[in-house]
């Protein structure tokens, strides 16, 4: 049960955003820019970074919500998404993405944990300054979102079949206040 009376029964971040639409608007705008851009990193890579950080923060709602979005982009390759979520070093992804996911994991621990070596490794694998900037900011954004969701005890569905329909809604329409104001998608 949420720590405060949200006045709605929407799951996870959606319930918090419906409670506070004014703060939801810039949060959704930031997510839209950082997670949907194709400039440098792909939307899939961006969602995988968010998924891994949410896993490391042990945020059940966020890790499964963003895994489901990544999975949607990857034509339902759930095995790859699960590999990246839990152990990117061993996953079948580029060395560049592995190096960026390593930076994201360091950011999850704290900004000071990021080392010049980790950044040099990513650059050596072809990451641009913008890729590194975006990786750090995506990881930091999820350190905010995970704390918001779990810190207020947001409703967390444990039935994983409820995540893909909401993921499809985000994949098709992006991030925006529609995710709580529109009718909630449910499985067919």
């Amino acid at each position: 049960m949420p720590h405060i009376n949200l006045g709605n029964d929407l799951p996870g971040m959606r319930g918090l955003m419906a409670f506070s639409p004014a703060t939801a608007e810039p949060m959704n705008l930031l997510a839209e820019i950082l997670l949907r851009s194709n400039d440098g990193l792909t939307p899939t890579e961006r969602e995988l970074i968010g998924t891994h950080v949410s896993y490391l923060n042990d945020c059940f709602f966020c890790q499964h919500a963003h895994a489901a979005i990544a999975c949607h982009y990857l034509n339902s390759d759930k095995e790859l998404v699960d590999d990246v979520r839990e152990n990117p070093a061993a996953a079948n992804i580029s060395n560049k993405l592995k190096a960026l996911l390593n930076i994201a994991a360091l950011v999850q621990n704290g900004g000071k944990y990021v080392t010049p070596e980790a950044v040099a490794k990513a650059k050596q694998e072809g990451a641009t300054d913008k890729d590194i900037h975006d990786t750090v900011l995506i990881a930091a954004m999820f350190c905010m979102a995970n704390r918001y969701v779990d810190g207020l005890g947001a409703i967390t569905p444990t039935d994983l079949s409820t995540y893909p329909p909401r993921a499809k809604q985000v994949a098709e329409n992006g991030y925006g206040n529609h995710i709580f104001s529109a009718k909630q998608p449910t499985a067919q």
């Binding site: 720590h3 405060i4 506070s20 930031l30 350190c143 918001y148 810190g151």
Partner: protein, 186 residues
């Protein structure tokens, strides 16, 4: 030295917000709403939340900047210093102690927030919205602190720098200055 090319005259968060203006805009807007928007918490109280979280994340740039902003808004330097050292004995209301305790739990992680800490805040008169805002401010500074230190931005030593930044945060809040920041070039 920063991991990405940032302008020399803009240390800490200020260079990042100019490096990536597109993401800066919603980050600024969210901060402006939370720290300067209408609220039953004063601007000084909200800066104390930012200060405590930044201090515990060991982000020297943010902790010093928000200490300066809190000092200016509160008109004294004792409170911000004391909430950093010990929330329980700091000269703030019981409600603020309870909210700062929640913020310090959020700094560790979302799951660290206890039902007891929430209950304590409510019994001291905190509203649901105040608790919501406290959690989101603390979470937002977990973003800022990681952004600032994760890209190894420059942390000035001079107290005058933070005094100036604190004055700017009081005068203009978190909005981008309409004229930009070229006037800060030496």
């Amino acid at each position: 030295m920063p991991y990405i090319p940032l302008e020399d005259h803009l240390p800490g968060i200020t260079g990042l917000l100019e490096y990536s203006k597109e993401t800066a805009q919603p980050i600024r807007e969210l901060t402006q709403i939370l720290l300067r928007g209408p609220s039953t918490l004063t601007e000084g109280e909200r800066e104390l939340i930012a200060t405590v979280v930044s201090y515990r994340n060991q982000c020297k740039f943010c902790a010093t900047a928000h200490t300066a902003a809190a000092d200016i808004l509160l008109g004294e330097k004792e409170t911000a210093e004391k909430v950093k050292q010990n929330i329980d004995t700091a000269p703030v209301s019981n409600k603020m102690k309870a909210l700062l305790t929640i913020a310090s739990q959020v700094q560790v992680s979302g799951k660290t927030v206890t039902a007891e800490a929430i209950q304590k805040a409510k019994s001291e008169g905190a509203t649901d919205l105040e608790i919501h805002d406290t959690v989101l401010i603390a979470a937002l500074f977990c973003l800022y602190n990681r952004y600032v230190d994760g890209l190894a931005t420059v942390t000035p030593d001079a107290p005058e720098f933070y005094q100036g930044l604190g004055e700017r945060l009081k005068q203009h809040g978190y909005n981008r200055l309409p004229q930009g920041y070229d006037h800060l070039k030496k």
